[in-house]
Amino acid sequence: MKKKYRNPVGVCKYSGLLFITPFLAGFLLFTLYPFASSFILGLTEYDGIRQPEFTGFGNFRKMLGDSSFLNAAAVTLKYTAVLVPLKLIFSLLAALTLNMEIKGMGVYRTIFYIPSILGSNLAVVIMWQFLFTSDGLVNQLLELCGLAPVGWYGDSAHAMGIIVLLRLWEFGSAMIIFLNALRDIPCEYYEAAKVDGCGKIRSFFSITLPLLRNVIFLNLILQIIAAMQEFNAPYMITGGGPLKGTYTLGMLIYDEMFKYREMGYANALSWVMFTLIAAVVAAAFGFTKRHREDI
């Protein structure tokens, strides 16, 4: 059966291809080629200087017994599990508050969004390092409130807290997505609910949340992908320590690749990270299936 292409009259079926050429060329050059060569390198032992030596799936077998890989995978999953829900809750709450129709809201929106534009800018990282030293701003403020200062860097859980707080502070991009979706909810829904005697909280759970589920899911996926690739913040702020408590997969791959020059292993690890992300995303798909319309 011959396929019909639904194009305007006089438009050749290849016109569209022509327009997406930049993407296609880019895909071949900057995605397919590096990914394929990384997969091939992943099957070798390679120090970047001598010829790569083919080892089959040796690198993958090595991972199973490599405690630093197992630790990094656990740290990454833990980090993702802590950060992503917190970030979703924060950004949703902020979006709900910022969705009110009151004067000066634009200014508040801008302020809430600003941290997220700074990302992993080195300047922000330097600032963040200063905030959490033993007599840095955060401990000064804690003491001002009559609380005991915290040893931030010396303890694994606290050190992870530093990174989580940085990424929470930058919740703006997730917030904007929620804000946008909230605006699309027609006011009539809420008015109808009010007539029916629904309280604020009830209408949140019976109107807002169900209508937001696709967006929540989208944010969930985006945040999982970002969190599982985390590299910059631990690399520059905690150095992965203490006791490897903030040593993420991203850091492990960087170290194996550039520091220990185990390039074959590093490339195999990148593929495992890729698979792991895909698995977590798939799990998120499965888990939310019942609560989500098809998209």
Binding site: V11, L122, F130, D135, L137, I177
Partner: protein, 275 residues
Amino acid sequence: MKKAAAYLLLTLGAAVMIYPLLWLAGASLKSNDEIFSSPWFMPESLDLSVYARAWQTVTGHTMGHYFLNTFAIIIPKTLFAVVSSVLTAYGFSRFDFPFKRLFYALFMGTMFMPAIVTIMPMYLMWSRLGVLDTYIPLTVPALFAAEGSFVFMLIRFFSGVPKEFDEAARIDGCNSVQILVHILVPCVRPVIVSISVFTFLWTMNDFLTPLIMISSVEKYPLSLILRLSADSTGNGYEQCKILAMSVIGLIPSIAVFGLAQKKFISGITAGGLSG
């Protein structure tokens, strides 16, 4: 009453969001001791001379030189990103063609790929082409719609423009390119602003790519010079100097965001990633 509570809550939240940055600006004017003794951001005395010192770097060039370098990367990169993303989005949203579903799936897939995988092979590729230590590895990928989320944003925006517009123009004798330039591009101006701003911000934030691709200090962008200075050991090490450099490093991002924020926010919200 309820409004007052909302304002209180919002102001409190805004304070938490903005205070670290205020503190950074203030601390850049403080002495080492003062930084670690007072949480209040205002310095005891206002002496701006640290900024003059921070403007001078150890390399013999001023920060101004590195600003120019950064802009020499950002300007072509932005242009490339806008043109290539618009073309690609146009192709996906307005045309039907062989393997469209496959290509669209591939396109969505690229957004989920971990970037770290590609660094080493890309380095080797650029090295074979002999263009390391130039801005080509930093700018040219933008020519190939490398940033999937930009295309995605545009596709959503294009789909909001009724196809009847195109058809009317086509009847008037416009070809596909003319339709894009005259009808569609004017409709997506806010997205183009958003793409430009994002390109600007992300380039300012990027550290790893220039670290690997650029080797002469002369050609460093701002992020690398910040790093070089963060390792700095100058006479009577001053914490405030590195903080002042950080402030200088953040000003462009905040300024560009501030200038473009109205259009920028409408660009990401109206056509944004929302379901």
